[in-house]
Structure formats: C-alpha cells, structure tokens
C-alpha cells in the first residue's frame, strides 16, 4: 500500500472522530477562551503596551498559540487512548509503513488543531483585534502550522515512551502549562528578571508567539525570519525525535 493512502486513511479517521465529538471540541477551547476573555478584559484597564497596544490585542496571538499547543500535544494523548483500547494493534498489524501511520496521525491532529486555532483567529478578526492583511494572515497560518506540527510530534514522542493515558497528566502539568506560561504570551519580555527572561527565550513557543504577533499586527520583538527559523528548526527536531521513538513503539 502506498504511503499517501496510509496517510489519508489515518487522517480521515481523525476527521471523523473530530466531527463526531463537538462537545470535546468546545471543551478543549474553553480554557484558551477563558484566558482571552477574562485576562484580556481584566488586565485591559491598566495595561497599555508601547502606547497603542491593548492587553487583549497583546495576548490574542498568544491565545491562538495556546490553543494550538494544547490540542496538538493532546494528539499524543489520543495515541495512548488508541493503545489503551487496543485499536493501535489493528493499525500496527496492517501492511502499512510506520512512517505512513505517524504522518497520517500527525496531519490529522494538525488539521483539527488548526481548525480550533482558526476559530480564535476568526474571533479576533471579527472583534477587530488583528490587522486584516492578506500577507499577514497567510504568514500567521504558516506559523500556526509549524507550531501545531512541532507540538504534535512532541506529544507523539512522549506518548511513544508511555503506556497509559493517566501518565500523560504529568506531561500536561510539567510540560504543557510551563511552556505556555513561559511563552511571553501573558507578559512583555522587557525588564524581566534574568532567570525568567532566559527560560522564556529557551522556549520555542516564544518564537511562535512573537511570529504570530508580527503577522497579526500586534507588538513583536524579533525579526519574523528569526522566529520562523527557530520554530521550523524546532519542528524538524521534534519530527525526527517523534519518528524515531514512534518506530520503536509496540502494541
């Protein structure tokens, strides 16, 4: 069976499950929405960045990234559920290459994450909180894809080394939340204590958030090319790591 057909089959399954579970869709978007609305409005009164950027405009692109981060990493959790329910065996015993399975699974989760991220993007557009410009929006989609694909691979890499979905809770607490909090989404990076500044700039998501800010006309710090290079490099690393670990996975 050819590689493309395997990818499509796995992708199609993700889509069917996604469309069937609208409640899960709403559930996974609740947290970023809460951050956006509550923090955005709550701090809005006394935050004005570089004279003309409101707090909700400041965190908006980061909230898109947050939604991508959460739903992408949860792709790894889905893999663990497949393992738990035995469905993973059905996939492994099929005459299909492991890389086809990995690519299909990744693409499926990236698609669903991008849909969720796009809901926030459209919401911000409707609310007039982002700059409406074709090049900027296309660039935003590129950043969104890279962020999502990188974290899906990272989630799969972690899931490959785990056996039960409960363990993934740890990843959630010790990886996903810190990565989000240290991404510079909620605070400007000027004048940070050195330790916090260091951690923020060691975090690949920081570059994704900054890139999205540039693309959507919010306040950014680094050149978009630097941001693009870092997040693309991160994507390459997690994809290689994820593939290597996934290949060794057994049912």
């Amino acid at each position: 069976m050819n590689f493309g057909a395997a990818v499509y089959t796995l992708w199609l399954r993700e889509m069917r499950r996604f469309l069937r579970n609208r409640s899960r869709l709403v559930g996974s978007m609740a947290m970023p929405a809460l951050f956006l609305l509550v923090l955005g409005s709550g701090f809005g009164g006394f935050f004005r960045y570089r004279n003309d950027v409101s707090y909700i405009q400041f965190i908006g692109p980061g909230i898109i990234a947050m939604s991508l981060l959460f739903s992408s990493m949860f792709g790894g959790l889905n893999l663990l559920w497949d393992k738990q329910f035995g469905f993973f065996k059905e996939i492994l015993v099929a005459p299909v290459s492991r890389m086809g399975i990995m690519a299909g699974k990744t693409l499926g989760t990236v698609t669903t994450s991008m849909i969720k991220g796009s809901v926030f993007l459209v919401g911000l557009m409707v609310a007039g909180l982002v700059r409406l410009e074709v090049f900027g929006l296309l660039l935003a989609l590129v950043f969104m894809f890279l962020i999502s694909a990188a974290f899906v691979s990272l989630g799969i890499a972690f899931a490959s080394r785990m056996n039960d979905p409960q363990g993934f809770q740890l990843v959630m607490s010790f990886l996903i939340m810190p990565v989000f909090f240290l991404s510079g989404t909620l605070y400007p990076t000027e004048g940070l204590p050195l330790w916090l500044w260091t951690l923020t700039y060691l975090n690949p998501l920081t570059y994704g958030v900054d890139g999205l800010r540039f693309a959507l006309g919010s306040a950014y710090n680094l050149s978009p090319l630097v941001n693009l290079a870092v997040i693309a490099a991160f994507w390459a690393v997690t994809t290689i790591a994820g593939s290597l670990l996934f290949r060794r996975m057994t049912a």
């Binding site: 089959t9 399954r13 329910f85 035995g86 469905f87 015993v93 099929a94 005459p95 299909v96």
Partner: protein
C-alpha cells in the same frame, strides 16, 4: 534455515505455516521454547493450554507483531521477519483484547481496515456488506461501536479480520468472556469459514470444549512447548482407556498404591475425595477395586465411567489442570497427581 514449503500434486503450497525451532524470551522468562509446527492449508488448528503457556506469544510472532529471539517461521511462504508486509497481507487476526474504534460505526471500522489493506472503494463497499452479513450485523452496521454488546464486538472483529480475504485467520481466545449462547454462535461462524471458504484458521483457547468441538487438530501447549499434537480423537485415544471416577471416604496412601499396581490402571489422579482413574478394562477392574476397598475398610460412595476428554489428556501430559481463571463459578480445585504408569 526454513524448510521449503511442501508442494502438493496440484502445485499448491499445502503447508501454509511452517515454524522451525521458534524461541522467545522475555528477560529470564522463556515464553516459547524451540517450537516446531507445520500447519496445512484449510486446517482448523487449536492451540490449547493454560494462561501463560505461550499461545498468544506464538500467534503474535506469526502475525509479525512480535520478533522472535531465535528460530524462524513462515506464513503463506513468506518469512515473518524479513517479509512482514507480505505476511500481513495474507493474514487476518482477531486479538484477544478488543481492538475496535469505539467512536466509529461498525461500517467505518471495516472501511478503515479495507483502506489500510489497500482495497479500492468499490471492493470495500461490496466486501463490507459481505462480511457484515456473514456475522449477522448488517442492521447494526451504522451504529457506533460503543453501543455494541461484547458478542457483537467480537463478531465485528471477526468480520474485520476477513475484510481483505486473508488466507490464514488467527483467532486469539475468540470466545473469552462471552456467554455460552454467544460462544456457540461464534463457533458456528468459525466452522462456516472453514467449511465454506476452506480458510486456514489457527485459534488459541483454554476452553477444552471449544478445542474439542471446533478443531481438526490440536496442539497442546504448556510452558512454552508443544507437548502433544494430534486430532481431538487421537489425543483422547492416547489415554488408552475409559475414565473412572470413584468417590470415597477414608482412602489412604496404601490403598491408592495398591490400585496403582493393578494392571488395568493406566493413570491416576486424586481430586479432593474423588479418585480419577484411567483404566483399560473397567469391567474387570471395578469388582477388584471394590474388593480392595472392602478389605481396607474404605467406603466407595459412587462410581461413574466416561470417555476421556481433553482435560484428562492435558492432566496426563502435564500433571496439571487447565483452570479457567476468568469464569466466576470455577471451583478452585486441587488435583494431586499420583504418578504415571507406563507399560
């Protein structure tokens, strides 16, 4: 190296599975120890043994999902290590544990399988309906699998295993945890597959009656080895006599040893107050046993005679009983094996 498959007069490969010196170790545990076995086309072979005998390990290696430690095997003429994809295309497998996607419908599960096995859209459409009909699930095909009962899931898994027209079907404990009625129904489907499609089927089970009723040949496995390989009748004939069960009070070692020395007695086991004997000439043995009991003031409360079953064969071969640990009403029984007499 593997022996070349034997070719019958029609030019077809008649040996469809060849296993040569297969060994699998998990750390210190030897799950399979130098297993040799050939399975002929359209056989319905049962791997019978207690939990942990190595049945699932053997099937997993044949299905290419587990590498062996040493030795080799081929399925449909393809080596299970070097030609994984070719093997996978020619086999279907129903795992011991459920492996369906609960959030998809029955038809979608089958369609997914067809796609993974490279079937085109037209072939899939026809085949999905065919296999659903085969397991009587046509009317539930559009329901989500999470609404299915245990028996329906099992049937859907069998249907899925058949989607891509495999030549060999592996069934790992196909009726585990199902009620008697559903079990019987699944047996009917399995028989139909063999009779109608001449499919080669290898199933594992620890149910004696299942092996006895379904299989054309049975490999009894214990502690990673095949301890006997024969037809159900052939295995039972090995007992060399009828099984006699004596219930008595006050039996002691001396009495048992006396019985053991009688020439009619082939085999003996004690289970609580019950004495289970394999005897060649029950008619002449029974009076002798009663006489001996009387002399030693032992009371025999009941006698029953029956043909030997596979359970007896298993005990004779291994000195232990296959116990069904999953059945809630299974009595925990202890059989003390008395040693085997050979002529």
């Amino acid at each position: 190296m593997l022996r070349a498959p034997t070719i019958d007069s029609g030019g077809r490969v008649s040996t469809i599975i060849a296993i040569e010196g297969l060994t699998k170790k998990f750390g210190n545990l030897t799950a399979l120890n130098d297993v040799h076995l050939n399975v002929e086309a359209s056989e319905l072979l049962g791997l019978l043994g207690p939990n942990g005998a190595g049945k699932t390990t053997l099937i997993s290696i044949l299905a290419t999902i587990l590498p062996s430690t040493s030795g080799g095997a081929s399925v449909c003429g393809h080596d299970v290590h070097r030609e994984q994809h070719a093997v996978r295309k020619c086999i279907g497998i129903v795992f011991q544990d459920p492996s369906l996607d609960d959030e998809l419908t029955g038809r979608e599960n089958l369609d997914f399988h067809g796609r993974l096995y490279g079937m085109d859209a037209g072939a899939r459409l026809i085949r999905v309906e065919d296999v659903l009909r085969l397991v009587d699930l046509s009317d539930r095909g559009n329901d989500l699998v999470k609404t299915y009962s245990g028996g329906m899931r099992r049937r859907l898994e069998i249907a899925r295993g058949l989607m891509h027209h495999p030549r060999v079907l592996f069934l790992d404990e196909p009726t585990l945890g199902l009620d008697p009625q559903t079990r019987r129904k699944i047996w009917d489907y399995i028989r139909a597959l063999r009779d109608t499609f001449r499919m080669t089927i290898v199933l594992t089970t620890h149910y004696m009656d299942e092996a006895d009723q379904l299989c054309t040949r049975i490999a009894i496995m214990d502690r990673g080895e095949i301890v006997a390989l024969d037809t159900p009748d052939g295995l039972k004939a090995r007992m060399g006599g009828d099984v006699l069960e004596l219930e008595m009070t006050g039996a002691h070692q001396e009495f048992l040893e006396g019985l053991c020395r009688m020439q009619e007695v082939e085999d003996m086991a004690v289970e609580d107050e019950k004495l289970i004997l394999t005897v060649v000439n029950a008619e002449s043995f029974i009076p002798k046993a009663f006489q001996a009991a009387q002399e030693q003031e032992i009371q025999i409360r009941s006698v029953s005679m029956r043909k030997p079953n596979l359970e007896d064969v298993f005990i004779k071969l291994t000195g232990r009983e296959i116990r069904d640990e999953s059945a809630p009403d299974a009595k925990t029984r202890m059989r003390i094996y008395m040693g085997r007499k050979r002529r």
